[in-house]
């Protein structure tokens, strides 16, 4: 039941929309395509659905070449950013429409529509029309229509982007539940790292049409193969500082000198990129060998339960993610602390050479 993309490329007017993609999606899997705007997420899904033809390569479904075969001939559902429903049909008829097309028996249609509607919590709305619904309810209706027909491939193209963030949170959790039991292949495109983490499954990082990395979500998150993967899969992006290691010390940007401790001692002398997640930098030292740096506050962004603090000095710019509400004025001086055991290290060609040791069972 798997779907395979084989050396798949699509070029339009000399621009690579998708470049040499090789990926396999298994039945019953939930797959997230994560990348910025124009990374190739939508293009890749359109190739999978047969809506566009590749310039090179093939799409295989259960080993059979389905390249360029249209959606109508295959059992595929697509859900878009915009809530697409038939305005003249009731919610019930909207959900039933793909089953009516398939000439399914009335009683079976009724059973499936009600089951799917109750799963998405829109059963009380079945007699209403789409325009009488809120945005969230409209998107639930569109999702119900996509899910009702037991498609073998369900494609989601940033389906939650036009919804309030609270609704997003709820629908995301529901989606995780819905797909736990299903045997179809789900592919979900998003620009948000946090959404990929919340959805779980397999994550594929895309950038400028190319696959940067793919694997189980936590494997990719914990061991990004290069600096690009590290920054794509971190929101806010992972902080990157250039540094030079000698036999005795590490110097950041020829400015900030620190003694080598812990795992850093194992690095051979040379130039590196050091990466640290915003959540690992703190305003108070946690270990004796934390790297201390003097910075100024550029902006303190408060999300309710946490604060994103942007700090800078003449050499570095960093983002910190702090628990709780921290109000600072722009320009306020602060000392920040980078724990050595949380550093990712990339070599001068930006490939990962060291992941932080995961502290398990740490102090609670």
């Amino acid at each position: 039941m798997s779907l395979t993309l084989e050396n798949l490329s699509r070029t339009v007017d000399g621009i690579d929309y998708v470049r040499d993609a090789n990926l396999t999606f298994e039945a019953g899997s939930f797959n997230v395509l994560l990348g910025r705007t124009l990374a190739g997420k939508t293009s890749m899904m359109r190739l999978m659905a047969g809506l566009d033809k590749p310039t090179e390569g093939r799409v295989l479904h259960r080993g059979e070449d389905v390249t360029g075969q249209s959606v109508q001939r295959r059992n595929i559902s697509m859900i878009y950013q915009q809530f697409i429903n038939y305005p003249t049909l009731t919610v019930y008829e909207n959900i039933a429409s793909p089953l009516r097309l398939a000439k399914m028996a009335k009683s079976e249609i009724d059973r499936r529509v009600k089951e799917t509607a109750s799963m998405l919590q829109i059963e009380p709305l079945l007699k209403r029309y789409p325009l009488e619904l809120s945005g969230g309810q409209q998107q639930r209706t569109a999702m119900a229509r996509a899910l009702v027909k037991d498609a073998t491939l369900v494609l989601f193209d940033e389906p939650l982007v036009n919804l309030d963030y609270k609704l997003r949170e709820e629908l995301r959790a529901e989606l995780r539940e819905l797909f736990r039991e299903r045997q179809c292949i789900a592919v979900y495109a998003t620009t948000e790292a946090n959404e990929a983490l919340a959805l779980g499954g397999t994550t594929t990082l895309l950038h400028e049409g190319r696959v940067v990395q793919t694997g189980p979500v936590m494997d990719v998150y914990r061991a990004p193969t290069n600096t690009l993967a590290a920054q794509l899969f971190s929101e806010p992006p992972m902080n990157m500082i250039r540094g030079r290691v000698t036999s005795t010390e590490v110097t950041f940007d020829e400015y900030s000198h620190h003694a080598l401790t812990q795992e850093l001692e194992k690095l051979t002398p040379g130039d590196y990129w050091f990466g640290i997640r915003p959540s690992h930098i703190s305003l108070v030292p946690t270990n004796d060998d934390d790297l201390e740096m003097s910075m100024e506050v550029a902006l303190s962004e408060i999300s309710g339960s946490e604060t994103f603090m942007h700090v800078e000095n003449s050499h570095f710019e960093m983002v910190m993610q702090l628990m709780g509400v921290h109000q600072y004025h722009t320009g306020a001086p602060v000392k920040v602390y980078l724990p050595v055991n949380k550093l990712f290290v990339f070599d001068s060609s930006e490939q990962l050479v060291h992941t932080p040791s995961r502290v398990s069972g740490g102090a609670l």
Partner: protein
């Protein structure tokens, strides 16, 4: 710059409203002080866009008054109210240069040419688009276009307030914070009353000193980001602010406290007295996932809960537990580990266990 006051304001889109459900905005009094940085936060359909349109003059309120510096403006057109608005999508003239776009509102107001030049230059510098002044607007990126939209509002010196309606919707996530920083700097520099409408708590709390949270046509809380987080005045604020939202549990009174399922939560003396006096049966307790502690030891202050699910969000984990038949979410750091079905002991620090009657927070009266 102006103080904007809403006096006994209400609005219904229906000709003869009867009950509260007929109102998009239920009767309220509210003041946006001169020079403040405010946000109006709420889900879609809460009435925030109606409120914004009433302030700008696009909608006439069906009841009550809108006052600018004490003067009634209900009858004034948006233009005569000297309000600048920045919308979701940039409103600029694509065929004009950035300079012409910025100069346009001033030319309309017959400002002398020399003054226009100086002012446009000044605003362009603030927005860091001075090197784009002679570019055609259609060749700009989305964030640059939105800066020009803001500039068109800022350039007029007679502007009484700037209203922002989800201004960062079309901006790429990586650039959003830079624009938020710009907005904050502009507010500090120009001292203009600014009202920022959004459904995004991050945007609201970053920009505003005080946030009005709207729900179901009412302002249910007007407070600082810290107040909204630590002492949500309404269960909706508890749910809406924070990710995940506050745990809110329906409870019954019992001797010495309140209970749900087999769980008894002791209350403070003043809370018990208060519950004695009121008739309502709609009593809830709320505690944020961030404030529940997992205790390494069992004591008479801990409650044994069952772990139902652990969601790893990279930088932190959300542990869903079951306690007294209720789901209770606990936020833990990324190092937390437990098996599904395991027993953990929860601790509810007294200061973070809040009491809600008829959905509103009850607080101890300060002596």
């Amino acid at each position: 710059m102006a103080e904007i006051q809403l006096k006994a304001l209400a609005h219904s889109y229906i000709a003869n409203p009867v009950g509260p459900d007929d109102y998009a905005i239920r009767q309220l009094d509210h003041i946006w002080h001169k020079g403040g940085a405010y946000a109006l936060l709420g889900p879609s359909g809460c009435g925030k866009s109606t409120m914004l349109n009433i302030i700008s003059g696009l909608v006439q309120p069906s009841e009550g008054e809108v006052l600018f510096d004490g003067k009634r403006v209900n009858e004034l057109s948006p233009r005569d109210r000297n309000i600048a608005q920045v919308f979701q999508f940039p409103v600029i003239y694509d065929s004009m240069t950035v300079y012409e776009n910025l100069a346009f509102p001033l030319k309309n107001n017959k400002v002398p040419a020399a003054k226009i030049k100086a002012r446009v230059q000044e605003i362009a510098e603030v927005l860091e688009i001075e090197d784009k002044l002679h570019k055609k607007a259609k060749n700009l990126t989305a964030d640059e276009k939105q800066k020009v939209s803001m500039g068109r509002g800022l350039v007029r010196e007679d502007v009484s307030a700037i209203l922002f309606d989800e201004p960062l919707t079309v901006i790429d996530p990586q650039l959003k914070w830079k624009l938020r920083r710009k907005l904050k700097q502009i507010h500090e520099q120009f001292d203009i009353t600014m009202v920022y409408v959004t459904h995004d708590q991050l945007e609201a709390s970053t920009f505003a000193d005080k946030i009005a949270v709207m729900y179901d046509g009412q302002i249910v809380q007007f407070g600082s980001p810290t107040e909204l987080f630590e002492a949500p005045n309404h269960t909706f604020v508890g749910y809406f602010i924070g990710s995940p939202g506050m745990n809110i549990v329906e409870v019954e009174r019992c001797s010495g406290g309140v209970r749900f399922g087999s769980i008894v939560l002791p209350l403070e003396a003043w809370q018990l007295e208060l519950l004695e006096r009121i008739k309502s049966r709609n009593v809830k307790v709320g505690i944020r996932p961030e404030f529940i502690e997992i205790s390494p030891v069992v004591s008479d202050e801990t409650y044994a809960a069952e772990v139902l699910d652990i969601e790893d969000l990279g930088t932190y984990k959300i542990v869903t537990t079951q306690l007294g038949g209720q789901e209770m979410k606990v936020r833990q750091n990324e190092e937390f580990d437990a098996t599904i079905g395991a027993r953990i002991d929860l601790l509810f620090p007294k200061q973070w266990l809040l009491l809600y009657v008829d959905e509103f927070l009850v607080q101890e009266k300060q002596p």
